[in-house]
C-alpha cells in the first residue's frame, strides 16, 4: 500500500497548491508517499518536509497533454503499487485526475476540501450552496484536492529524487502561445483576494484596488461585467462562470453580490463587502461590511494597511 501525489511544478518553483497536496497525501494514511511531477523544477527534495519520501520527476517533459501525464501517473502508480492517488484540483489536475480514475476504474473525488471522515470525503456541490460526502467503493481511489484546504506541513526530512525513465508517448496537444496578461499571485491559490466591480466606474480607477492588494499581499479579481467590458482581463473574473476561489480573505468593492458571483466566492473564510448601496445582497453573505463610496473608503483602507505594515 502506498500513495502517489501528482503535482504540476512548471515554472521552476514549488507552487503552494503542490505543497498542500503532498501534505494532504501524507496525512491520508495510505502508506509511504511518492510525489510525481515533470519539467525542470529544482529543490524537489524539499517536498520531504511535507511528507514525501520520494519524488519521481519526468525531466525534459513540458506538456499540457493529459494523456501523457496520465501515463506518467499510472506508470509510477503501478511501479509503486499505489492504491491512493492524490491530484490538485487545478487546470492540470482536471485534465489528469479523471483520466487516471477512468483508466484504473477507480472512484474519483473531484475537489475535496479536507481530510476524510473514515472513508467519506467532503466536497462542495451546488456551487458552494451545499456539501456532499462521497464514498469511494473501488480498491484504488483518486482524490483531487481543492487549493487552500490544508495548512502546508513542515518538519519532515529530505525526499530522494529519482528521474522517470519511461516513454510517455507522443504529445497530441501543443502550446502555440501563452499570452501573459499579468504577473502577481495566481488567483486560485491566493490566500487573500481584493476584488472590484462596476462600482469602480472605469478601468482607469483600478490603481487603488491594486495598491490595496499589494499592501495586503493579495491577488486582484473582478466581477463578470468588469471582465465582459474588458476593464480587467478575463482570468481575473471570479464567479459561477469564471474562477471559483476560496481564499482566507475576500474583499469585494463595488460588487452587488448577484447569486452567480456569490457561487464563485461563497467559500471564502472571511468576506468583506464595501458598497454604497446598503441594500446590496452581498451584505447578507458578508462578515464585515462598509456602506460607502469606494473612492472614499479605499484611501482609508490603504492608509490603514500601510500603517499596519509599518508596525509589523
Amino acid at each position: 500500500m502506498s500513495t502517489i501525489v501528482f503535482i504540476d511544478t512548471r515554472g521552476g518553483k514549488l507552487p503552494k497548491a503542490a505543497q498542500e497536496a503532498v501534505t494532504y497525501a501524507s496525512q491520508l494514511e495510505g502508506g509511504p508517499v511518492t510525489a510525481v511531477t515533470f519539467g525542470d523544477a529544482q529543490g524537489l527534495e524539499t517536498l520531504g518536509a511535507q511528507g514525501a519520501s520520494k519524488v519521481v520527476v519526468a525531466r525534459g517533459v513540458s506538456t499540457v497533454d493529459g494523456q501523457q501525464l496520465t501515463k506518467l501517473v499510472c506508470d509510477v502508480a503501478a511501479a509503486e503499487g499505489a492504491t491512493t492517488i492524490v491530484c490538485v484540483s487545478d487546470a492540470t489536475g482536471k485534465a489528469v485526475a479523471p483520466r487516471v480514475a477512468a483508466r484504473l476504474k477507480a472512484g474519483h473525488v473531484a475537489g475535496t476540501i479536507g481530510l476524510p471522515q473514515g472513508n467519506r470525503f467532503t466536497r462542495n456541490v451546488f456551487s458552494g450552496k451545499a456539501r456532499a460526502q462521497v464514498e469511494v467503493t473501488s480498491a484504488t481511489r483518486v482524490i483531487s484536492l481543492s487549493p487552500n484546504s490544508i495548512p502546508i506541513g513542515t518538519g519532515g526530512g529530505s525526499a530522494t529524487v529519482q528521474e522517470h525513465a519511461g516513454d510517455l508517448g507522443p504529445s497530441r496537444i501543443t502550446v502555440k502561445e501563452l499570452r501573459k496578461a499579468g504577473s502577481g499571485i495566481p488567483l486560485p491559490e491566493a490566500e487573500r483576494v481584493v476584488s472590484a466591480g462596476r462600482g469602480m466606474k472605469g478601468p482607469e480607477n483600478w490603481g487603488p484596488v491594486e495598491e490595496l492588494a499589494n499592501l495586503l499581499h493579495a491577488a486582484t479579481a473582478c466581477s463578470r461585467p468588469v471582465a465582459d467590458m474588458h476593464w480587467r482581463p478575463h482570468h481575473e473574473h471570479v464567479g459561477q462562470t469564471g474562477v471559483a476561489i476560496r481564499p482566507n480573505l475576500y474583499i469585494a468593492i463595488g460588487i452587488s453580490g448577484a447569486i452567480q458571483h456569490l457561487a464563485g466566492v461563497n467559500q471564502s473564510k472571511v468576506i468583506c463587502v464595501i458598497n454604497k448601496d446598503p441594500e446590496a445582497p452581498f451584505f447578507k453573505a458578508a462578515d464585515y461590511g462598509i456602506v460607502g463610496d469606494a473612492f472614499e473608503v479605499l484611501p482609508k483602507l490603504i492608509e490603514a494597511a500601510k500603517k499596519l505594515n509599518a508596525e509589523r
Binding site: 479523471p98 474519483h108 451546488f126 460526502q133 473501488s138 497530441r172 502577481g184 495586503l216 473574473h237 462598509i290
Partner: protein, 247 residues
Amino acid sequence: MKILVLISQVPDTTARIAFTNNNTQYDANGVTFIVNPYDEWYALVRALELKEAAGAGSVTSITVGGADNEATIRKALAIGADDAVRIDVAALEAYQVACEVAAYAKDKGFDLILAGKETIDFNGGQVGAMVAELLDLPYVPLASKLDVAGTTATVERDVPGGVEVLELQLPAVIGAAKGMAEQRIPNMRGIMAARTKPLTVVPSSNPASVASTVQFELPPAKGAVKMIPAEEAGKLIELLHTEAKVI
C-alpha cells in the same frame, strides 16, 4: 463534421437547495430543471456554429437519464441539435455517466465531443475527461474559445495570469467554459421542429459503480455581518488583523 454534445439536466441556478430522505437525496420538489448552462450556452451553441461554418455535418445531443429529461432534451433540439440520444438510466456519478457516453460514442466516428466545463449541481468537471480517456482521445478542459480548420482544433483557455493557446488534432473532447459562444434563445420554428426531431432511447451498458454520494449537508450558517461606518473604514484593516486574523 460530426459533433456530439453532452447535455445534463440540472436544477435552475436560483433553485432552492434542500435535501430529503435523511439528507441522502436532492429534494426536487417544486424545482424547475434546466439544461446545464455550460452545456447549453457554450458547448451546444459552439457545436452549431462550427457545423454552420462548415456548411455540413451534424450535431447530436446525448443525455444520461430517465424519461424525466425529455424537456431539456427537446430544448437542445429546439436550439438546433439535429438529433438526440438518451441513455435510459439514472445518472448517479461521473464514471458511470462517462462509461455510458463512451459506450455509445465509441464506434460512431464523432470528430468532436463537447461538454460543459462542469455541471452547476455537482461541479465535478470529470465526465469530459473520463470520456476522452475511455475513447483514447485528447481532452482540453476549461476552453473559452474553439476554432476548427480541417482536422486541426485551436483552443484558448484562461490560465492564472493569462491565456494559453493550444492546438490539437481531431477527434478530441473539449470542455467548454464561458466565452466559447453566446447563448441562443430557441425561436418558435425551432421549438416546433424539436417535436419531430429524432430522439433515440438507448439501454444502459451497465458500467460498474466506483463511487457514490452518500450524504448532503448545508454549509454552516454565516454569523451576522459586522458593519463599520464609512468614516472609520480603516478600522476594517485593524479588525482583519486582530479579530479575523487573516492579514
